[in-house]
Amino acid sequence: MRSKSISNKQKIFSWLEGLGLLAWGTLLLKYSFTGQYKLLIHPNYFSLVLGSGIVLIILGTIKVKSILNNKLQKNSEHISLFPPGLGSSLLLLVAIAGLIIPPKILTSQTALKRGVGDLPLTTIQPQAFRTATKPEERSLIEWIRTINAYPEPDAYSGQPANITGFVLHLPELPDNYIMLSRFVITCCAVDAYPIGIPVKLDASRSNYPVDSWLTVEGIAIAETLPVKDRIETNAITEKRSVVIEAKAIETIPTPADPYSYR
């Protein structure tokens, strides 16, 4: 009797292991094929995710097959912190949760929490100042990079701009300004940090609700704006900044790849 119950337990653990592998393989493949991986990681690592998905499916299939053929070898005990089966149960549960709940796009709430504006101090790396790019072809992140490399607002005055991002209302800015923002991902969503450039509207920003996506066409001007230091002191200082004066604004649906990557 006793030996039977042990072997049943073994069997349950084996099933958990096998299903966990299959579920993770399915989850990774799902992310790969639906493009949802872009919400989680830098697209450079797409092939790693796809490859792992395939390997996990293969391993899971071998495992399940060996259970079905009743060819279970005795599971030798392994020194572990977890009671047996806990690791594989966790893996299985999380994979199922991942299959049910889709990843969410980070929003303004996170942006405010992480401090929008300049690139975080620690991630500033000198970028080449590329005058070759036409200003109207620069994306939002390219504008920020260029300004970081050559931070003289007046140098940009009069340059045409055409940028896309989501709306952020910063309380310290006057009512006719929005922050057009985007998250930048270095490796995965965990390190996403928001960048943004102020856009001057000719009316109140209440027409453009927070988190809606806009394509803004306009002209760069230099203006002195209040800037809140969200990193250290929370103090508001006046700072001369590059501002885009909007000429035409178009509301667009949330793009499939809402993040910028570096």
Partner: protein, 332 residues
């Protein structure tokens, strides 16, 4: 609810980024158990303590194992009469000085190459120094757990016999003296070389799955903690801790001790603190983390005397602190 969903997304993003490396890590560590001849390796080890420590800290390149795998291998080295300096250096360095860990660190911190470089440099320096310190004690048994030293009968070995690399060989119980490592007893690989490829494959497969489930469970645990801290702990608190040179290093070292995340993927964990914590403290996490975690202490307690374990960790913690502090002042 919104915040919970945010946390879940970050949690998933950590997992999806880390999973390929975890898989690669367990594939290689399970595979190499069968490919590398430990006996030949031992024969080639230098006798000089300093050289021995340096070599010991580099063996990780041949055994790409993280914390979970290095203790059994280190124990085997000690049993094979490898000087403790080599074994201890190996124990401390192997989880960091190996190709997969270096690669994943590079992916996480490629935009700050100094973190990758100094992670390797500091880890090998600390492993070598601690190894040298213990080489002063000539009698290995002073360091080892009494029962382990007396009979040189590894306590935990019974459970680990499954892996051919980790077989204990035969020892005469109660004789007080181990039988020297012997060719025929050594590594199972030779004996079943031709005979049973299938068994070998089965062993490989079982080991692979077990390590994957266990480390995967650990990874889920660690990622959950990272996501929760990022979303739910007020930013002021984190910034307050993370912007001061000294408190940030201490905080990250504490976190490293609590979160037993596998070294193959711990750089992604550290990444979630990248914008709020100083580079020096991230480095402290990456250097200190792999040497210490609850699981490895449990395993080490089966080899070393408790006093020795305390000495090792105190030394490692102090060295990590001093090195990363120096890094913060001169380079951070």
């Amino acid at each position: 609810m919104n915040q919970l969903h945010d946390a879940f997304t970050l949690f998933l993003s950590l997992l999806v980024e880390a999973m390929p490396f975890l898989l690669l890590g367990v594939l290689l560590s399970s595979g190499l158990l069968f490919l590398i001849s430990e006996k030949q390796l031992i024969a080639k080890l230098p006798k000089n303590p300093l050289l021995g420590s340096i070599v010991g800290s580099c063996i990780g390149f041949l055994f790409p194992v993280c914390e979970c795998g290095n203790v059994p291998v280190a124990r085997r080295l000690l049993l094979a009469r490898v000087p403790p300096s080599v074994a201890i250096s190996f124990l401390l360095a192997a989880p960091t000085i190996n190709p997969i860990v270096i690669w994943s660190t590079w992916i996480a911190f490629g935009d700050r190459p100094s973190i990758v470089i100094f992670r390797v440099l500091f880890s090998s320096a600390i492993a070598t120094i601690v190894g040298c310190v213990f080489s002063i004690q000539p009698d290995t048994r002073e360091l080892l757990q009494t029962s382990f030293a007396k009979r040189m009968k590894p306590i935990v070995d019974v459970k680990l016999d499954r892996s051919p690399l980790l077989q204990s060989g035969t020892f005469l119980l109660g004789q007080g003296k181990p039988i020297p490592f012997d060719d025929s007893l050594s590594v199972g690989v030779q004996s079943d070389n031709a005979s049973n490829l299938k068994t070998k494959w089965q062993l490989f497969f079982t080991n692979l799955l077990q390590e994957f489930s266990e480390l995967g469970g650990m990874l889920i645990f660690g990622s959950a903690i990272a996501a929760i801290i990022q979303v739910f702990v007020p930013r002021e608190i984190i910034l307050g801790l993370g912007h001061d040179t000294i408190t940030s290093i201490v905080a990250m070292m504490l976190l490293a001790a609590i979160v037993s995340i596998c070294s193959t993927v711990d750089s992604f964990f550290a990444l979630s603190f990248a914008s709020t914590f100083t580079s020096g403290s991230l480095l402290a996490f990456l250097v200190f983390g792999p040497t210490i975690d609850i699981k490895s202490i449990g395993l080490m307690a089966s080899i070393f005397k408790p006093k020795i374990i305390i000495y090792i960790f105190t030394l490692v913690a102090q060295l990590t602190f001093i090195f990363t502090l120096a890094y913060s002042y001169f380079l951070g």
